[in-house]
Symmetry: C2
Subunit: 222 residues, 2 copies
DNA sequence: TCACATATTGAGCAAATGCCCAACAAGACT
DNA sequence: AGTCTTGTTGGGCATTTGCTCAATATGTGA
């Protein structure tokens, strides 16, 4: 049925091709898992012969690491890009909402996946550490900005950034299953914790959450 | 150097052999990852030919699922076994301490690992869901007991159990890296959250934690 | 228009994995 | 001791994977 479809050989600049391969690999890793990034699978997606993939990435481990980095950068550009046009609190809300949204389930899974695979892949391990650091630095910077503008009150932005990032991970650990229940629960805790860490009144963030967890009614009186 | 070491053929009862294989697979999965559970690898550990593994587990997926279940049951027996001899609060503290301890890093990793691999392994997916449910039920029961004895005040034990379990996952997500910082941070949040969920005074649990996070000084006044 | 640098292919090797099955022998039973 | 059930082996086949390398042809520059 499906003819082998021998496309006429197409020649590209090394940089262009490298990027094309990395993108394809990132797409596969994101949609199907990092384990599915194989020479032949990527080659097929790019419309090229497996040998060419090896030519640009002498070892698959490097390709996987690059693919992860590529995806992580894409995600970061979406969620943590320095953006001076919006107030810090609004940016924090957007970040939390984004990660809690089902739309980012693939990215959440990818991070988990990377943590597991990095056990056997030193390059990926390094890439993971770098991306983690970058995210933490950007969130720290965002919190610092908020402190400077007077929006936040926070003794240790690095500490708070880490705590929030870990909780974001937690919220997405169950990215496989019916997330609704877990998301709602952890989402509430996440907003609550963020508010506390950033010196905000309860509800200051969660009340303006688009994705807002059902009834985040803080009820201190039992 | 290493002679093939042809051990004299040893015959066992099916149940015994099955358990032996499952244990070996669990050990491998725990120490090196579920991806390392292969017919030949397990056979080598058991001291048997690969064909025999196939005989007891017609498909590797089933063996992996069984191995995970085996490990999860072992862990549960250690941390969540019904135990009427100790008061509920003490048992909760022991649970949190246990998971935060570096000694349980392998188990934490295994759960993450299972979540990832279950994407390609339907049997493992089912096993994972079962083990999750069992853990949640046991923790729910523990909280219920605490409510009955008057130790805890908790509107929804199921809800609280889930939240605590998710946070435990979060604490161990970074089981690969230098956990110290993350563990301390999330550990503090974990105890704090548990205390809130169970209607306890701040510090009621954390103050008695053996593994206790450094300075869990609740400081409501900024 | 033609040559040339090099991006790309085609073919293949070695290793690892899952799975199958006929033959073998350990140990229980008579 | 001999028999017979069945746990166990040995060998092998089909796939998939990473990687190599000489040969090919594309598109640029002379």
């Amino acid at each position: 049925m499906t003819a082998p479809e021998a496309t006429p050989r197409k020649r590209r600049s090394p940089e262009e091709r490298r990027l094309e391969i990395a993108s394809a690999a990132a797409r596969i890793g994101l949609a199907e898992g990092l384990e599915r990034i194989t020479l032949r699978r990527v080659a097929e997606d790019v419309g090229v012969r497996p040998g060419l993939i090896s030519h640009y990435f002498p070892e698959v481990d490097g390709l996987v690491a690059t693919a992860f980095a590529h995806a992580a950068e894409t995600e970061r550009a979406d969620m943590l890009a320095p953006d001076t046009t919006r107030p810090p609190d609004e940016r924090v809300i957007a970040l939390l909402d984004e990660v809690l949204s089902p739309a980012s389930a693939d990215f959440s899974r990818l991070w988990l996946n990377a943590r597991i695979v990095s056990r056997y892949n030193a390059l990926l391990r390094q890439s993971l550490a770098e991306q983690e650091t970058l995210n933490r630095e950007l969130l720290t910077a965002l919190i610092r900005t908020g402190v400077e503008t007077g929006d936040f009150v926070c003794a240790s932005p690095e500490r708070s950034a880490l705590l929030i990032l870990v909780l974001l991970d937690a919220a997405s650990t169950y990215a496989n299953e019916d997330v609704t229940e877990v998301t709602a629960l952890v989402g509430a805790l996440l907003f609550e914790t963020a508010e506390r860490e950033l010196g905000l009144a309860p509800g200051a963030l969660s009340a303006r959450s688009a994705h807002l967890p059902p009834a985040a009614a803080p009820d201190p009186a039992s």
